[in-house]
C-alpha cells in the first residue's frame, strides 16, 4: 500500500526526475527527513552496537535505537519485510537490469555486430548495491546480503558472470539472505553464475572438474577442516557432472544435461550414492546443509562478521546449536549472535565498502552510487570484484596500511568533488551550530566517532587548520575530513 505521504513524495520525485535528463540517476532525497534536533548521544557500547547493525548509523537510526532499545531494534530489523523501503526502491528506479532474467540480460549486452557490452549490467548492479546499502531502511538485511555475497563469492568478471551475477544476486542471495540456509545453498548450487564461476559447466563424465565440488564443501558448507577428503571431492564432482547452463533457448538458465552425467555409483562422505541423475548431488547437498561441521563453520563466520575477528567460542557454540535445532534458520542464528554476542563485541577494522558507506550515511550524503566505485577500487574492494572463491577477507589485518585512498576519498567527499555525490554536512551542522568552533567540532565528533575528541587533540586540530588560513567554515569542513580520515573512524 502506498500511503498519502509516499504518494506525495512519489509525485514530487517524478517531476524532479523528469526535469533531469532521462538517463540521469535519481539521487536527490526529499527534504523533511532530518529531525530538527541534533543527533542522539549514545554511550560507547550502543554506538558500537548500532555500527554493527547498520552500514554506519544515520541520525534517524540513532534516534530510533535510543527510543526502542537494542532488543526491539534487532527484532524490528529482523522482520525486514515489515519495514517500508519505498525511498530506497525509488532510488533504484534507474537500474532497469535488476529485475531481468538471464535471457533478457544477454540480449541487452549482446551487441550483435559489435562486441558484448560487458560494462553496463555489472555497473548497474554495483551501483544498486551501494545505493541499497546507503538508502535501505532494512540495514540488517542488507548486511546479510553483503555477508552471503562474500560467502558465495562470484567474481563478476569471469565469463558470463558479468550478466548472470545479476540473476544470482536477486534469486540466490537476496531471496534467501534472511531465510533458510538450506534454500540458500540449494539456490546457489543451481545458479548458472556459480556453475560458470567454478567451472562446473565443464564438469563432465569423460572429464571431471573438481572446482565447484571442492568449494561447495570447503567454502560453502563444511569448512576446510570439515572432515572431507580429496576422495570425497572427486566423488562429489562425479555427482555434479551434467549440472550445466543452457546455451540456446532460455539461454543462461540452469540445466541438467543427462548425457554428460556419470552414471556410476559414488561414495561421498561415507554415503553410497546410486545412479539417480540430478538427485545425486542434491542428496549430498541435503546432507551438507545439516552437518554439524557446517553449523559450526557458518556460526563462526557470522560471529566473526558481527561480533569480533576472533569470535567468542561461547557465542559460536550457541549459534551452531541454534543452527542445528532450527535446520539452519538464518534469522534464529543471527538473533542469538546479536542478542548474546553484541555485549562481547570487539572493534572491527572497517573494510573499504563499510568505510565508504559509513562516511556517506553518517554525513547524510546523497549519491547515485556511480562516482564512488572508483574509490572502492583504489581501496581494494569493488563489489563482486574478488577473484577467488573465498570472498573478501573479513578480518581486519589485510585491510590496514592502505590509508592513502581513504584519505583521498574523505577529502574529496567533504569538498563535494565526487561526481553524482553531495554531502549534506552543512545542513546537519546547521542544526547543531553554535557560536563556538570548539563546540561545533565536539558535536561533529560525537556524530562521527560516538564521543567528542580529547580536548587537546581537538584544539590542536582546530588551531592547525586555522593557522593555514582557513575561515571558520572551512575549518569545520577540514576538521570533518580529518575526523573521517582519523584512526578512530577506521574502526566500527
Amino acid at each position: 500500500m502506498i500511503s498519502r505521504r509516499d504518494f506525495l513524495k512519489l509525485s514530487t520525485l517524478v517531476v524532479t526526475s523528469a526535469a533531469l535528463s532521462s538517463c540521469a540517476p535519481v539521487y536527490r532525497r526529499l527534504a523533511g527527513d532530518l529531525p530538527a534536533v541534533p543527533w542522539t548521544p549514545l554511550d560507547a557500547h550502543d554506538f558500537l552496537a548500532l555500527n554493527r547493525l547498520t552500514f554506519g548509523p544515520r541520525v534517524e537510526e540513532r534516534a530510533r535505537f535510543s527510543e526502542i532499545s537494542l532488543q526491539a531494534y534487532i527484532e524490528e530489523q529482523l522482520a525486514f519485510d515489515s519495514i517500508n523501503d519505498f525511498d530506497c526502491e525509488l532510488q533504484l528506479q534507474p537500474f532497469k537490469s535488476l529485475g531481468k532474467d538471464a535471457n533478457e540480460l544477454e540480449g541487452i549486452s549482446n551487441g550483435l555486430f559489435e562486441d558484448y557490452d560487458r560494462e553496463t549490467i555489472p555497473d548497474e548492479l554495483r551501483q544498486a548495491t551501494l545505493v541499497r546499502q546507503i538508502y535501505s531502511k532494512r540495514q540488517l538485511y542488507e548486511l546479510m546480503v553483503e555477508f552471503w555475497s562474500d560467502h558465495f563469492n562470484i567474481f563478476i568478471e569471469k565469463g558470463n558472470c558479468f550478466y548472470l551475477k545479476t540473476v544470482d544476486d536477486r534469486e540466490v542471495i537476496r531471496k534467501h539472505a534472511l531465510a533458510s540456509f538450506r534454500d540458500l545453498v540449494w539456490a546457489s548450487a543451481h545458479s548458472p553464475a556459480m556453475m560458470i564461476y567454478l567451472d562446473n559447466q565443464a564438469n563432465e563424465k569423460s572429464a571431471p572438474n573438481e572446482n565447484y565440488a571442492r568449494e561447495l564443501m570447503e567454502l560453502h558448507t563444511l569448512g576446510v577442516d570439515g572432515g572431507y577428503t580429496q576422495q570425497d571431492v572427486m566423488e562429489l564432482a562425479r555427482c555434479l557432472t551434467g549440472w550445466n547452463v543452457k546455451e540456446h533457448f532460455w539461454l543462461g538458465d540452469f540445466v541438467f544435461k543427462e548425457d554428460l552425467h556419470d552414471t556410476g555409483t559414488k561414495d561421498v562422505l561415507g554415503l553410497t550414492i546410486e545412479n539417480s541423475g540430478i538427485k545425486e548431488a542434491e542428496q549430498v547437498i541435503e546432507m551438507l546443509v545439516t552437518h554439524p561441521n557446517t553449523a559450526r563453520f557458518i556460526a563462526t563466520k557470522l560471529t566473526r562478521r558481527f561480533i569480533a575477528d576472533d569470535p567468542p567460542q561461547v557465542i559460536v557454540e550457541k549459534a551452531a546449536q541454534t543452527f542445528l535445532q532450527t535446520n539452519g534458520d538464518i534469522k534464529s542464528v543471527l538473533r542469538v549472535i546479536l542478542l548474546d554476542g553484541l555485549a562481547l563485541a570487539q572493534p572491527k577494522y572497517k573494510r573499504p565498502a563499510n568505510f565508504v558507506t559509513s562516511a556517506l550515511r553518517m554525513t547524510n550524503t546523497e549519491t547515485d552510487g556511480a562516482g564512488i566505485q572508483d574509490y572502492l577500487l583504489r581501496m581494494g574492494q569493488t563489489y563482486f570484484g574478488w577473484p577467488t572463491p573465498d570472498g573478501y577477507p573479513d578480518r581486519g589485518e589485510p585491510w590496514q596500511n592502505n590509508l592513502m585512498p581513504r584519505w583521498q576519498f574523505v577529502f574529496e567527499l567533504i569538498r563535494n568533488e565526487i561526481k553524482g555525490t553531495k554531502n549534506n554536512l552543512n545542513s546537519l551542522l546547521d542544526v547543531s551550530s553554535t557560536d563556538s568552533l570548539q563546540d561545533d567540532v565536539d558535536s561533529l565528533t560525537s556524530l562521527l566517532l560516538g564521543a567528542p575528541l580529547e580536548r587537546l587533540t581537538r584544539d590542536k586540530l582546530i588551531d592547525s587548520v586555522l593557522s593555514a588560513g582557513a575561515s571558520p567554515e572551512e575549518t569545520l569542513q577540514i576538521a570533518a575530513a580529518g575526523i573521517l580520515a582519523s584512526p578512530a573512524f577506521q574502526w566500527r
Binding site: 541534533p38 548521544p41 554511550d43 567451472d199 565443464a202 572429464a207 571431471p208 572438474n209 573438481e210 570447503e218 576446510v224 577442516d225 580429496q230 572493534p347 583504489r378 581501496m379 581494494g380 577473484p387 585491510w399 590496514q400 596500511n401 592502505n402 590509508l403 592513502m404 584519505w407 583521498q408 577529502f411 574529496e412 569538498r415 542544526v431 547543531s432 551550530s433 565536539d442 565528533t445 560525537s446 566517532l449 560516538g450 564521543a451 567528542p452 575528541l453 580529547e454 580536548r455 587533540t457 590542536k460 592547525s464 587548520v465 593557522s467 588560513g469 572551512e474 575549518t475 577540514i478 576538521a479 575530513a481 580529518g482 575526523i483 580520515a485 582519523s486 584512526p487 578512530a488 574502526w491
Partner: protein
C-alpha cells in the same frame, strides 16, 4: 538554530586505546643484506609446463594434448618446442626471455619444490605458505613479517617492506609496518593547494601518535618525486605493459631511489587453469610470457645492482600431472621455485627429480615434493639477508640448505 549538546562524560581520543601497538624488539642486529623480491604466482601454477621434463616419457603420456614437444621433436616447429636447459628439462617456449639470465648463471630452478600441505585448497595452501607454517597452530604472522621483526637492520624507512597491489600480502603481516602500493603515481592527495595544506595539517594532528599514519605521510613526501611514466630503464630493458611489469618497474625505481626498500612482494594472478589453459599458445603461455619478460627486464635493468638483489618466485602448489578433459589441469602438489640474483648458483636445475611414472607420482597423480620451499627461503635468509633466525621465521622447521646460493 542553537542547541546545547549534553556535556559528554567520555572522550574519544584520536587513537583508541584498543588499537594494536607496535611491540618491536628484534634480537639480531645486522646491516641489511640484499633487497628481496618475492613473486607469488597465485592459483597454483602449472610448473610442469613451465620447466618441462622433456626427458620423461610419462610426461607425454599424461599430457597428450597439453604436453610441450621435445626440443628435438622435428615433427613440430622449432618455436613450438621446449627450449633445452640441461638435456632433461626445458623452458616452455614462452619463457625464452629468461635464457639470458639462465646462461649468465644468475637464474636457478628448484624443481619438485613445495610445501608438505596436501589440502589442494588454494586458500589453505597459500595461507600456510605465506605464514611459513605446517598447520593452523603456527603463528598468524607472515614469514616475511617475522623476518623483518627478527632482524634489526637499523632501517626505519616506511618503505622497508612494500606489498605491490591494493593490500599487503599475508606473508608481510607482522609487527613491523609494511605498505601497500598500487602505483607510485597514485600516492598523493590532489586538489586545491590551500585546502590540501589544511588537510595535511589535520592529518598530522589526528595521526600524531599513529605509526602507520605517520609512515603514510612520509611515503607521500618520498613518492612525490618519482614517476613510472617517465622512468627510463637501464640497458633499454623493456618491462611488459602489465600489472606485473609495472610492479617490477616500480620496485626497480624504489631500489634506485635508495628509499630503504628491503622487501618487495608481488602477486601474479590467473594461474588456476582448470579449463582450456593452452599448451604452446593461449591463456597460460601468455601468463608465462608476462612472467619471463618481466623478470628478464628487471634482470637487465638492475644489472649493476645484481649483487645486492635476490628474487624468488613461488606458487602455493603444482597441478595434476595428467591433463583433465577440459584441456586444463586440476589441483596437484609439487611445485617449482626460481631464484634470480647475482649470488645464485644459476644455470642449474636443483633438487631431486621424483619422476612422473606410476609409483613415483603421489596422491591422485601429482608431482611429489623433494625440496621444502622453506629450505630455499632459509638459505636466502641466512646467506643473503643476514638473518640467522630461521627457527623463528619458520618455527618448528629444521631447514636443510639446498645450496642454491653460491
Amino acid at each position: 538554530m542553537l542547541t546545547t549538546l549534553p556535556k559528554p562524560t567520555t572522550y574519544q581520543v584520536a587513537l583508541p586505546s584498543w588499537m594494536p601497538r607496535l611491540a618491536f624488539a628484534p634480537h639480531n642486529t645486522s646491516p641489511r643484506g640484499d633487497t628481496l623480491i618475492v613473486v607469488f604466482l597465485r592459483g597454483a601454477a602449472d610448473i610442469l609446463n613451465m620447466v618441462v621434463p622433456h626427458g620423461e616419457d610419462a610426461y607425454y603420456q599424461l599430457r597428450p594434448s597439453l604436453g610441450i614437444p621435445r626440443p628435438d621433436d622435428s615433427s613440430e616447429k622449432k618455436e613450438e618446442r621446449a627450449i633445452d636447459l640441461d638435456g632433461f628439462f626445458g623452458f616452455h617456449p614462452s619463457m625464452h626471455a629468461l635464457l639470458d639470465a639462465w646462461q649468465s648463471e644468475q637464474l636457478a630452478i628448484i624443481h619438485a619444490c613445495g610445501a608438505p600441505d596436501e589440502s589442494r585448497s588454494h586458500f589453505k595452501a597459500m595461507e600456510l605458505m605465506e605464514r611459513g607454517v605446517d598447520d593452523e597452530r603456527g603463528p598468524a604472522s607472515g614469514w616475511i613479517g617475522r623476518h623483518l621483526a627478527t632482524l634489526n637492520t637499523g632501517n626505519s624507512s616506511p618503505l622497508r617492506a612494500v606489498g605491490m597491489g591494493t593490500r599487503p600480502q599475508r606473508s608481510l603481516s607482522g609487527t613491523v609496518p609494511v605498505s601497500a602500493l598500487r602505483s607510485i603515481a597514485d600516492f598523493h592527495l590532489g586538489g586545491d593547494p590551500r585546502a590540501l595544506q589544511q588537510m595535511r595539517l589535520a592529518l598530522n594532528t589526528v595521526y600524531e601518535n599513529d605509526v602507520l599514519g605517520q609512515d603514510t605521510l612520509s611515503i607521500m613526501d618520498t613518492l612525490e618525486t618519482l614517476d613510472p611514466l617517465t622512468y627510463t630503464a637501464a640497458r633499454n630493458a623493456k618491462y611488459p605493459d602489465s600489472e606485473f611489469g609495472l610492479a617490477l618497474k616500480q620496485t626497480a625505481m624504489l631500489i634506485k631511489a635508495e628509499v630503504g626498500l628491503e622487501v618487495s612482494a608481488i602477486d601474479v594472478g590467473g594461474w588456476d587453469t582448470h579449463f582450456a589453459q593452452g599448451s604452446v599458445t593461449g591463456l597460460m603461455p601468455n601468463l608465462m610470457k608476462d612472467l619471463a619478460e618481466g623478470l628478464a627486464a628487471f634482470h637487465a635493468d638492475m644489472q649493476d645492482h645484481m649483487n645486492q638483489l635476490t628474487t624468488v618466485t613461488m606458487s602455493e602448489f603444482g597441478r595434476r600431472a595428467s591433463e583433465n578433459g577440459s584441456l586444463g589441469t586440476d589441483h596437484g602438489h609439487g611445485s617449482m621455485m626460481m631464484v634470480l640474483g647475482g649470488n645464485v648458483d644459476g644455470g642449474k636445475v636443483h633438487g631431486e627429480w621424483p619422476g612422473l611414472e606410476e609409483g613415483q607420482i603421489m596422491g591422485p597423480g601429482d608431482l611429489a615434493v623433494t625440496t621444502d620451499y622453506r629450505d630455499v627461503l632459509s638459505e636466502v635468509l641466512v646467506k643473503r639477508l643476514n638473518n640467522p633466525a630461521t627457527n623463528e621465521v619458520f618455527p618448528d622447521y629444521q631447514a636443510k640448505m639446498p645450496n642454491v646460493i653460491v
